[in-house]
Structure formats: structure tokens, C-alpha cells
Amino acid sequence: MSRTKKIVIIALLVAQALVLYLVERMIPFNFGIPGAKLGLANIITLVSLFIFGFKETFMVVVLRVLMSNLMGGSISSLLFSLSGGLLSFFIMYLLKRIGKDKISIIGISIVGAVFHNIGQILMAAFVIHNLKIVVYLPVLLISGVATGFFVGITVSYILKILKNTGLFKINY
């Protein structure tokens, strides 16, 4: 893939992630669980992980987090998004490399969602100097499985379509 094409696609992915972030903010989904989110932006991280490698996806994640916080966040929410986003990205990357044929996108997506929540909870515990906040973790794990499952299904459809365009080499 040429350098220019890479830059353009990274920019497109970041833009799409930002749109998903804005759409997600309009959906009142939390079932009374503080911190529970649909995690739609993870769709883009996963797509990027399958069409690019580590370096490019890392860039997509960092740019997405920085820019979405510019659009509606604060310094403290930047800390949470960054810790959750990066931890979940690292774990998904490792899982994809280790798991190879044994795991599908759905599994990777669920683990990503779960570790996104774990990263945020740990950062929250650090910020308020109170480890007791982990009492929220069990419900957040369950919501992570549910949202991760549907995000995974969405990504597998997207990759199927992207593969048919012949524009990308997708190893899925």
C-alpha cells in the first residue's frame, strides 16, 4: 500500500470514528450502569486492525481519542478514553496475533470491549484514589460482552464488503 493511500485511509477511518462517537453520544444507552457505552468507535479500531498493522492502528486510535475529546470532552475524560482505548487496542492486537485462526472477530471484539472497561475503571480508581470503584466491574464486564458481540458482528460484515471491493488485502 502506498504512503499516500495509507494516509488517506487513516484519515477516513479517524473521520468515521468521530462520526460514530457523535452518533453514540445521541443514543441514551446505559441501562443505569455508570460508564456503560455501546463502543461503536471500536468498529473502526477493529477494521483498521484487519486492513493495517500495529503502527497504523495505533495512530488511528490515538487520533480518534484526541479529536473526539476536542469535540466534547475534558482533560479528565481524555485520560479515561486514552487508557481504555489503548489498553483495549493492545490486547486486541495481541489476541489477533496469538489467536490467528482459532478466534473470530467476535471474540476479539468482546475482549476489546471488556478491556476498554477495565482500563477505564483502573484509571477512575487512580483518579479518585479509591479502589472500591471496582464494584462496578461485574456489570461492566457483562455489558462489554453484549456490546462487544454486536460490534464484532458489524465488523465481520464490514470486512466482507471491504474484501469484495478488492482494495485491501484483508487477512480474515
Binding site: N30, I103, S104, I128
Partner: protein, 125 residues
């Protein structure tokens, strides 16, 4: 869906269940007194004895932000906050020991604690 996906789902759900059961198990039910402890930035800001007829509004104003906590009906509720997401306000009313309300942007935590005070019921000489 592959086999490993299912295994992952089962592992995560069982960790969640174990965590939930552990929290339930650890929950202190042996108390005759409840306190609402308010922490700001990790430090104890104030502590109130909860009763059935308590009716108090506490305004916490720090450089991090402003929260209004209402104590009533043997419990606590954050009724207003200047933080952007208002999760703490949506969380509503809490009254069981171990429950907590958290306002992350303002670093405010309200925690209900149960405590057992040794009351002298009877004294014999």
C-alpha cells in the same frame, strides 16, 4: 463464531458472576448505624450519621467543581453537579452500605458505610 469465542464469553461471564457474588458476600449486613462519607480527591471531606428523618443539603465546592448532595430517608443522593456527563446525578438515591455515588470529573465520592456500635443493652451488677 468459533470455539475460542465461546470460551472467552464463558470466562468473562463467570469472572463477572464470581465478582458479583464476592461483592455480595463481602457486603456488611451486621450494622446498626449508617454513615454517609463524602470524599473529595481521595480525602475524607465530611461524614454524616444517617437517620430516617435526616434532611440536609451539602454543597461541595472545590476547584474541581460543584456538587450538591442531599441526605434524606436514611440515604444519600447527588441532586446536582456541574460536571458534563451528570452520571452521578442519574445514579439516583443510595442507602445500602457498600453502595457509592461517584462523580469522576469532580473527584467526588459518596459512600454509605454500615457500622456496628456496641450499645449497652443491660448492665448487671
Amino acid at each position: 463464531m468459533k470455539k475460542l469465542d465461546l470460551i472467552i464469553i464463558i470466562i468473562v461471564l463467570s469472572i463477572a458472576l464470581a465478582g458479583y457474588l464476592y461483592i455480595e458476600y463481602e457486603r456488611d449486613t451486621d450494622f446498626n448505624n449508617k454513615r454517609a462519607e463524602i470524599y473529595v480527591n481521595g480525602e475524607l471531606y465530611d461524614s454524616y450519621q444517617l437517620t430516617n428523618d435526616i434532611d440536609e443539603e451539602i454543597i461541595i465546592e472545590t476547584e474541581l467543581g460543584r456538587n450538591i448532595i442531599k441526605l434524606y430517608n436514611n440515604g444519600a443522593d447527588i441532586i446536582d453537579s456541574d460536571c458534563p456527563d451528570k452520571i452521578c446525578v442519574e445514579d439516583g438515591f443510595i442507602s445500602n452500605p457498600g453502595e457509592m455515588l461517584v462523580c469522576l470529573p469532580n473527584k467526588v465520592v459518596v459512600e454509605i458505610k454500615g457500622e456496628k456500635e456496641d450499645e449497652i443493652d443491660d448492665t448487671t451488677y
